[in-house]
Symmetry: C2
Subunit: 635 residues, 2 copies
């Protein structure tokens, strides 16, 4: 029976070299779907609490989903997950591009990696086969040459490569996984987990087609999606400007993170905007597997100190802000260079920017001096310092690079003298480039994401300010009232809870946030139709959103087991303090309102209101009673 | 824009005589849908706690739903609701038949009645108009003559009449509302509420057609439903035997309530079975508006002491058991007579049977004597006593009739001497004819129904023992494991919670339990399609089941406000004691398991585990924060 997925999981023990195929039951696939859902299932089942994230006991999961690779725009993402070396909590990050689909074409829905290889290695997966190969000639190379060498060695230029870069090898705690040099599982340091296992890369290639339950229905949905993408305003903006469209949008709202979140307006915003990129360095619009949005940017800086090669893509909004406005830098070429370096070395651009921001604010306040920075003036606005900082971090060069490579939480603690107040992180993960003071739901999102501050693991602020055309896409959730952006009352919590389930489902179905959901193309009611067309399951939005809720709850239990709780579901002090400029000058998040909203969220989730521990009844309802044993002593 | 409902509510103040039309916003309709959802909204908003259910302050709501009357089999039911004089808690009961659709054709989706008429009255609703008329010549009549007189007086034989009978006039606490002499809003004493308001009947007639958003889609769904009904085994059984098919089914399982729930097998079962009815007294299969199931029975007993007229229909399963096996009576003619009398007088057959059962068990144990029973041997098996008992109760004749008319809770307290242990009720409402000792989910259902023991307000036991063809109908809920019938663990709670939402939704959409849901025709995923075809709303199973959850929660808050809590969410002692015979002899419900399941249910619902008080966060999630004020001092 065609079902759209392989029904096969690859298990690799790098310590023993053993490779096994496993065929989980359909019940497992339907209950967890894939991506974050399936990964958190395996991590909870198989990873005991308290292990060293960078030790061989950590488990690394690469998980596509039951629909990944279906030829409908946006159904392309996959998840990498492990216990995070950056946070010590649940670690997960998604990437688009081509690797997720290729993994499925190669015969597996997911790969579970345990242990540590004796020597540098990479994993080669092809048409249902897998082998661990030596990475002897590859270890230490930048991502571009490494990818090239793997393709040459295996003799197929169409091989897809997901890899840790040199930063991962050096266990930089926010090293990422880089796919095809420009698509990244960016957050929570999963590249370092690869490095810790002596696993430099996974190469995948498959030539067998997946068969789907209802190909005609799929064609219909693909056409609908394509039509929506070509006709629907927000998608046209995504095609024209990509995510960089947000630079000017957020600057206008006064929430473009600037100078380490001190203010939300940046005088140089136009210089780093999506519009400016189009006028100057943009070479092509690129995209992911089977997607017609083509929101990805490839940029080129032909010459000068910031000469940048287009094969590493171009900066997304997050990077334009984290290496730009956040650091007071308005040099688009320098930011592009910084982005390229992060992709060459395998560094998360968000955490890298925030780490450099910490260094700059410490420098400006005398907590770091030229003695720490090899004589460089590590001040906001200094593009050279930013580029140099990335080099140092990736190589763990200089004391400063080695320090910042630990992430801002550890780095600030080592710097001491109150540096913590300049360290913008939650649970140890650096803040993405969204200021919750102008959209408080984003504050809940940052605080409640199981991965620490994250803009992909939990929803952005509820975009109901303009309920007109958008409401049609989310109407099946039920009537959700438009709530003022800075509100934190019951309606905000209601909207947030529902969108949290949607966001969670994004990651378990591998649906790109930019092609479905509240703002983008495929309306929510089409999701169960899509899943049915692929798998044949008579599913519903009820069942799918319950998977979303289930996955949020699993990650919560993972973190509770590691000692996290309410104390960790908070924001950096700076976000409770007023913004220093712009239209929202003087506005901070109210601590009492925030704590109250958090309590309401816990209650709405069926978690105890004190520490957010899921109740036994709620776990029963979600078919998660097997997690009760992990909460002993917590209730 | 066609929307399938009127958008108009009729408000009648019987004290002042004022009649008003109200047009609630679409938001109200979409949030509460109709039936139990809409009724509980108005009751919570407008009825202060602590009022006398039989005083003029009580509010009586007759509510159809947004889809009631659509020409698809089974979309026919409507709700009557008020504070119950039987329980003092939330009162609600559904009826099929023709009145709900007619109310909508007459121009209104619901009627809200307040106050008390100075003199006996009835309400006449026709094509958007309404008037309160004198019931001078009608008061005191049995239901048949009363209906006839109303039709004559108004000059239209096609008028539909929902009325309280003489029992309602006399404030029998389990007097029902009778529609067309044979469809009943049976439970919670709503006929007494009508009586207390001097409102004998509501007559309705409408000739204007409702327009639907997508008539073609409706035709498609109507055809699907018709095909399923004609082809699908369980529906064929319903056509052939009606609900009386359950007599033999439950007797075989050992859970046919017999001799006041002492045992679950009845030696005379075959004599009162659906099969025997077909062979003997069945005159025709009848049905409800636009429904092809035709599960209703019309019976006739031509002569003898139990001569029965077919215009009052025939006994359903519940009645065959409550006036039959429960009382040890296997005389089908006598049961049919008892049923006819209940319909003539407007008595709930379930409560009537259980009340007589109390009297019989008290008599057999010497708590009542012939002095109390006008010399009649009030013993199990005595059909004459049963028929006489109904007469007495309806008229509040004899001391015994007046006593039993109060319901078994009050009656047993008045009898004293330990009679309480023979009073089979929950929250004051008499048990329906399902023994939870053989299906423990039914125990949860009885304990948790806001109306007291009730088989319509909360789900029957989860029917997952045979997941084959059934699973297809409920598949959209997600994977629900088959759970042994006597289990009370987490999986049972999970199944129960989801089905509770489905059952609640039955009552807010007016969908007949016999034409949709787990066992019957229209699969769950067609419900949102149906609602969309009628209203145009881009809804989903998520949104609809959330209405189900919302409605359960509203009724909970209503009852908490009236002082109910965990102490009331329990079963009569007899159900914790072992069955005295049959295949389940020796089996009772385990008190600890039951208490534990109750706690898990509360937790799964986002209610506090001590007393089942919904948390503030849960109310926020369900868009019910307006109920917070009613829970002051409860949290």
């Amino acid at each position: 029976m065609p079902k759209g997925y392989n029904g096969k999981i690859l298990r690799v023990d790098l310590t023993s070299g053993e490779i096994k195929r496993e065929e989980p039951s359909e019940v497992i696939y339907r209950t967890y779907l894939g991506g974050g859902g399936l990964a958190s299932y395996f991590l909870l089942k198989e990873l005991p609490p308290g292990v060293d994230p960078l030790g061989p006991e950590n488990i690394l999961v690469f998980a596509a989903t039951v629909i990944t690779g279906v030829p409908v725009s946006g159904m392309v993402r996959y998840s990498v997950a492990a216990k995070s070396p950056l946070t010590g909590a649940y670690g997960e990050a998604e990437a688009g591009g081509f690797f997720g689909p290729e993994l499925k074409f190669a015969g597996f829905d997911a790969v579970i990696i345990k242990g540590k290889a004796l020597k540098p290695s990479y994993l080669w997966i092809h048409n249902g086969q897998a082998e661990v190969r030596s990475a002897a000639g590859i270890w230490g190379l930048e991502t571009g040459p490494a990818q090239e060498k793997i393709r040459q060695e295996l003799g197929d230029p169409r091989i897809r490569v997901a890899q840790a870069g040199p930063a991962g090898e050096k266990l930089v705690r926010f090293a990422c996984v880089i796919n095809e040099l420009k698509h990244t599982n960016g957050r929570t340091g999963l590249g370092a987990v690869m490095g810790s296992k002596n696993l430099r890369a996974i190469a995948a290639r498959g030539t067998e087609k997946l068969e789907y339950h209802d190909p005609e229905k799929l064609k219909e949905l693909a056409k609908l999606q394509a039509d929506l993408i070509s006709q629907w305003g927000p998608n046209k903006v995504m095609r024209k400007l990509g995510t960089p469209n947000l630079v000017m949008a957020l600057n206008t709202q006064g929430i473009l993170p600037t100078k380490n979140f001190r203010t939300g307006v940046f005088e140089g915003a136009q210089n780093i905007s999506g519009e400016r990129m189009v006028e100057t360095i943009l070479k092509s619009e690129e995209g992911c597997y089977a997607c017609s949005v083509r929101c990805k940017r490839a940029v080129e800086v032909a010459e000068g100190p910031y000469a940048t090669s287009r094969e590493y893509g171009g900066p997304e909004y997050e990077t334009l802000s984290s290496l730009g406005s956040l650091l007071g830098i308005d040099n688009l070429a320098a930011i592009s260079k910084g982005n390229e370096l992060c992709n060459r070395y395998g560094l998360d651009t968000i955490s890298a920017g925030v780490a450099i921001g910490l260094a700059m604010e410490c420098f400006e306040n005398g907590l770091l001096t030229k003695a720490d920075t090899a004589g460089i003036e590590f001040r906001f606005g200094n593009a050279e310092a930013m580029v140099q900082g990335i080099e140092w971090i990736a190589q763990r060069n200089q004391g400063l690079g080695n320090l910042l490579a630990e992430g801002v939480k550890i780095a600030a603690a080592k710097i001491g003298q109150g540096a913590e107040k300049f360290a913008l992180h939650i649970k140890g993960q650096e803040l993405p480039m969204h200021d919750p003071r102008g959209k408080t739901g984003q504050g809940l999102s940052f605080a409640l994401s199981p991965t620490g501050a994250d803009h992909i693991e939990a929803p952005h602020d509820t975009p109901f300010a303009n309920p007109g055309p958008m409401l049609g896409r989310i109407a099946p959730l039920g009537l959700l009232e438009a709530v003022p952006a800075r509100d934190l009352g019951p309606q905000k919590v209601r909207n947030y809870v529902y969108l949290h389930f949607v966001w969670s489902l994004f990651n378990s179905l591998g649906i790109c946030n930019f092609t479905a959901g509240p703002v983008w193309a495929l309306p929510l009611n089409k999701w169960p139709e899509l899943v049915k067309a692929v798998t044949g399951w008579e599913t519903s939005l009820w069942e799918l959103l319950k998977v979303g809720e289930r996955t949020v709850t699993m990650a919560r239990v993972f973190n509770l087991r590691e000692g996290f709780g309410r104390k960790d579901d908070t924001l950096p002090d700076r976000l409770f303090a007023p913004l220093e400029g712009g239209p929202l000058q003087g506005k901070g998040i109210d601590r009492n309102e925030f704590a109250d909203a958090l309590t309401m969220y816990y209650e709405a989730m069926g978690w105890d209101p004190q520490d957010g521990v899921p109740t036994r009844g709620k776990l029963a309802e979600l078919n998660l009673s097997w997690l009760d044993e992990y909460l002993k002593g917590k209730r």
